[in-house]
């Protein structure tokens, strides 16, 4: 009896392994921030982080723009977390393909779903499938070296590109298209996309949004960068910024500063070599062109409150390239996941948790993801303290057998360090911080383990 009490106390309070097993699915910022906080909330717990790709960091590696290297500094914190002896990274394992939620629940006291939102929302209009209508997400994946997107077709031998959507993803795409290529050469952008961007003829990018200036989703830092791009002038259509100055002062500070910056920009008339256009109050109705895009037919909207309402008036925008950038959606990776189809998110439940975009929906900067992941970790800590997750679980012992039986090659943290080293060495040749490996087989050859 005494021994049992003692061993319980040791399990709960000791810094050494306490037998509590956590399985996290997704090695992006949400997964890592959650792991970091769990180490504090439940000292001695074992955390296994599964990642579909052989390499970690999710959108920090594949979403953050190559010319924003400072944002990627969070990798240093994640690497520190990963070096904790109670954290195990298991790359190249996919939930819903190699393992199931039921198997994870069998193995872990807490399963944390952190696999994000990687499906882009479609416009669902006629002509969307003609060539050179590209998903902004895939374009970003392409220049960032995401293996699945390395072969997407985008013809940059055109002058005018349209981006549907007015968030930071849209601005990232616009900035990459309009930036002087020499600025990108020093970044970790993939060599093949640098080559394509060097040949690019794009001189004009139009950002189209359904609503008005007051409703834009991009943040001020990203707009300020556009306004400072060398050789690019920013224009607004048809006096759409008129009268904005009358309401600016009544707005809360963040909106107020953003609107002031936009308004000041709209008052400038300088014309430079390249053009960045912002067009409000338009909804795409159809893509024009039979095999290749020739333009977009838009409906003119007006606002009722915050809502855009389509009118009968039409407006045609000629272009030879279009990106859709109207948001992401999470998918249900496994049929057993308690997935809310309406919001495409996973609510918290005892034993199965969600963090990051899968939990909050695909909005917000890294701070919001961090905050969300910390909260989920706090909730798991509370459930642990209440003894709701008490059963003894086998952890990775169970899953590793499944992977072994299926002959899955996995990548551990050491394997990632090997891949990282090769990428950094290849980068030196091109004067870049790294040259990403875009072929999964090559990654596995360098860092893979087959039991």
């Amino acid at each position: 009896m005494r021994w049992r009490y003692l061993s319980h106390s040791i399990r709960k309070y000791s810094k050494d392994a306490n037998g509590f097993q956590v399985g996290i699915v997704g090695a992006g910022p949400a997964g890592f921030y959650c792991a970091q906080q769990l180490l504090k909330k439940i000292p001695g717990c074992q955390i296994d982080i599964y990642e579909r790709l052989p390499v970690p960091f999710g959108l920090v590696r594949y979403g953050v723009a190559p010319d924003h290297p400072e944002v990627k500094n969070v990798i240093n914190t994640f690497t520190k977390t990963a070096s904790n002896e109670n954290i195990r990274f298991i790359g190249n394992v996919s939930l819903g393909c190699h393992i199931t939620l039921a198997q994870l629940k069998h193995s872990y006291n807490a399963v944390v779903l952190a696999y994000g939102a990687d499906e882009d929302r479609k416009l669902n209009i006629a002509g969307e499938n003609v060539s050179n209508v590209v998903s902004a997400t895939k374009f970003i994946g392409w220049y960032n070296g995401l293996p699945a997107d390395k072969n997407i077709k985008v013809d940059l031998d055109v002058e005018h590109a349209v981006i549907v959507g007015q968030g930071n993803v849209a601005l990232d795409v616009a900035r990459i298209l309009l930036s002087p290529v020499d600025e990108l050469r020093k970044t970790d952008i993939t060599e093949y996309s640098l080559e394509a961007l060097t040949q690019s003829k794009v001189k004009k990018v139009t950002l189209v949004g359904r609503r008005g200036p007051l409703q834009v989703a991009f943040t001020i830092k990203e707009l300020r960068e556009m306004l400072k791009l060398p050789g690019v002038s920013t224009h607004f259509f048809e006096n759409q910024m008129n009268d904005i100055d009358k309401v600016i002062n009544d707005l809360p500070r963040p909106r107020k500063r953003l609107m002031q910056l936009m308004y000041d920009a709209s008052q400038k008339t300088e014309v430079r070599n390249k053009l960045f256009d912002i067009l409000f109050l338009r909804t795409p109705i159809s893509i024009l062109g039979t095999s290749k895009i020739e333009g977009i037919e838009l409906a003119v909207n007006h606002l009722e409150g915050e809502r855009a309402v389509v009118t009968d008036e039409k407006y045609t925008l000629k272009c030879e390239l279009a990106f859709r950038s109207i948001g992401y959606r999470s998918v249900q990776a496994d049929p057993d996941i308690p997935f809310d189809k309406m919001s495409s998110t996973v609510p918290q439940s005892t034993g199965v948790y969600s963090v990051g975009w899968l939990s909050s929906g695909p909005v917000g900067v890294i701070l919001s993801t961090m905050s969300n992941a910390f909260q989920a970790a706090t909730l798991i800590g509370q459930h642990f303290d209440k003894g709701l997750l008490g059963e003894r679980k086998p952890g990775y012992d169970y899953i590793s057998k499944i992977l072994e039986d299926k002959g899955i090659i996995t990548v551990d943290w050491n394997g990632w360090m090997k891949i990282d080293k090769v990428e950094v060495e290849r980068g030196i040749k091109h004067g870049k911080p790294r040259e990403k490996i875009v072929d999964i087989d090559e990654m596995l050859q360098i860092g893979g383990i087959l039991k």
Partner: protein, 145 residues
């Protein structure tokens, strides 16, 4: 022996090597510790010391203070995780006003106030000795902490 004389002797003996001289300068003249108090959202009061030229973020890192998620971008003005709130008197007394880029990041911070700054942009100097700042919760949720 007066302090002045001692200083004279020490600096003369170091003058052969500029490096030594610099070292001497920084350890004796400028290294008076500057005290900062961090009042955390959960009520904790943490007093730490830094030296002239350190940012508040440096103070937190150099003293290994455990502030969740603080300084995610490592002081490169690309996040707002090192948000601190000052008294208006202290805010006005800071030598540098926030840049547009700092304000842009602060605009994304939770619990933004008119006297908010980023800790990585507040550089310590002697007159700031005894500075007290509020560290708002990192997360946008009153239930947390």
């Amino acid at each position: 022996m007066s302090v002045k004389l001692l200083k004279y002797i020490v600096s003369n003996s170091c003058i052969r090597s500029r490096v030594h001289n610099m070292k001497y300068m920084s350890t004796v003249n400028n290294d008076k510790p500057i005290k900062v108090t961090f009042n955390k959202a959960n009520g904790d009061k943490i007093i730490a010391e830094g030296k002239k030229g350190d940012s508040l973020l440096d103070v937190i890192i150099n003293n290994n203070l455990d502030f969740d998620g603080y300084g995610a971008c490592e002081g490169t003005l690309t996040c707002s995780t090192c948000h601190v709130i000052l008294d208006s008197k202290d805010y006005d007394a800071l030598p540098d006003k926030p840049s547009d880029e700092e304000l842009d990041m602060l605009d994304l911070a939770y619990n933004l106030t008119d006297t908010s700054r980023l800790g990585c942009q507040i550089i310590l100097e002697e007159k700031l000795d005894g500075l007290e700042v509020k560290v708002p919760a990192t997360v946008n949720d009153a239930r947390y902490n």
